[in-house]
Amino acid sequence: MNEQQRLFFVQAESDYRVLRLLQSRGEPACQVLHYLQMSTEKLARVYLWKQAAVKTSHAAFSKFLRSIAGDDRVRDELGYRSREQWDAKLRGIASLAAAVQRLAPDLAGDGPTPEYPWPPDHPTSAPTEFEFPVWGELQKANGRVLLDFLDKLFQHAPRCF
């Protein structure tokens, strides 16, 4: 990792630890989702900083998944021996990952975000009172698969990003 990558990694890891802490304490969904969105965006930027400066943050997580689809080093490090298994894993989490990414204020438009009441110009709803559909998805098998994959990425990133 270069220095820019290291800086983003320590911050992403810190966000992720807070996410797991909030989750274990049963804190409101919006807070867990906020940290999930932030930690995945920063983790993506750790990887993307490998090549060059990353000017934009939006859609970084999906960009990251596309990038590691063609990275044998990351695949090997995470223990996927065949490219078919690797593709299947990435495809399996893609739509949930996109839903997490859409929680970012710059992608949410006037819609719900876990961070601020909305719509921005005339708020009528607050995140803590809102039932986020993506939260329901995270409680299901696919959500556990995504979080397990993120655990592995955070564990192995220092060696393969």
Partner: protein, 150 residues
């Protein structure tokens, strides 16, 4: 079945929660549609084969990607240039659209992969030749990959 315009008008009537469910289901449906097996590369693949393989992978892995253009003309021998239409992108005012080096790392391949992510509107301008691509990127001789028609 509703056409895209009618579908958009209906979707505009949804409340906040229904809108979130709609977006998530839309992305799920879209990613299911692209789930054909990408398959392995042939032995000693050439640049065109690698580009096609990567384009299909990106369509399969990212539900935001709807179309991919491969631009081989005048590209350096070991450089793969892809333009990808991404429905998850929002164009920001005065934001420069620049290709990102994806850091391709596949054993036996020695190609540099550059990806230009664009919004659907920017994509339309590019394919209609109304928008400038990065310097040296040429639309002539491009190859398009996308979801098969329903």
């Amino acid at each position: 079945m509703l056409d895209p315009h009618q579908l958009a008008q209906q979707a505009g009537l949804l409340d906040d929660r229904q809108w979130r469910v709609f977006l998530d289901d839309l992305s799920k449906a879209r990613s299911q549609r692209g789930r054909s097996t990408v398959g392995e590369l042939p032995p000693n693949p050439n640049r065109d084969q690698v580009a096609a393989w990567l384009a299909k992978k990106h369509l399969a892995v990212d539900p935001g990607i709807t179309d991919v253009l491969y631009l081989p003309k005048d590209a350096p021998e070991y450089e793969i240039r892809l333009v990808e239409a991404n429905t998850l992108l929002t164009a920001l005012p005065d934001e420069e659209v620049t290709p990102v080096d994806f850091g391709l790392n596949v054993e036996g391949l020695d190609f540099k992969l550059l990806v230009l992510d664009v919004t659907p509107d920017q994509w339309k301008e590019i394919v209609e030749n109304r928008s400038q691509l990065p310097p040296g990127w040429i639309l002539d001789g491009s190859q398009r990959f996308g979801y098969p028609s329903a």
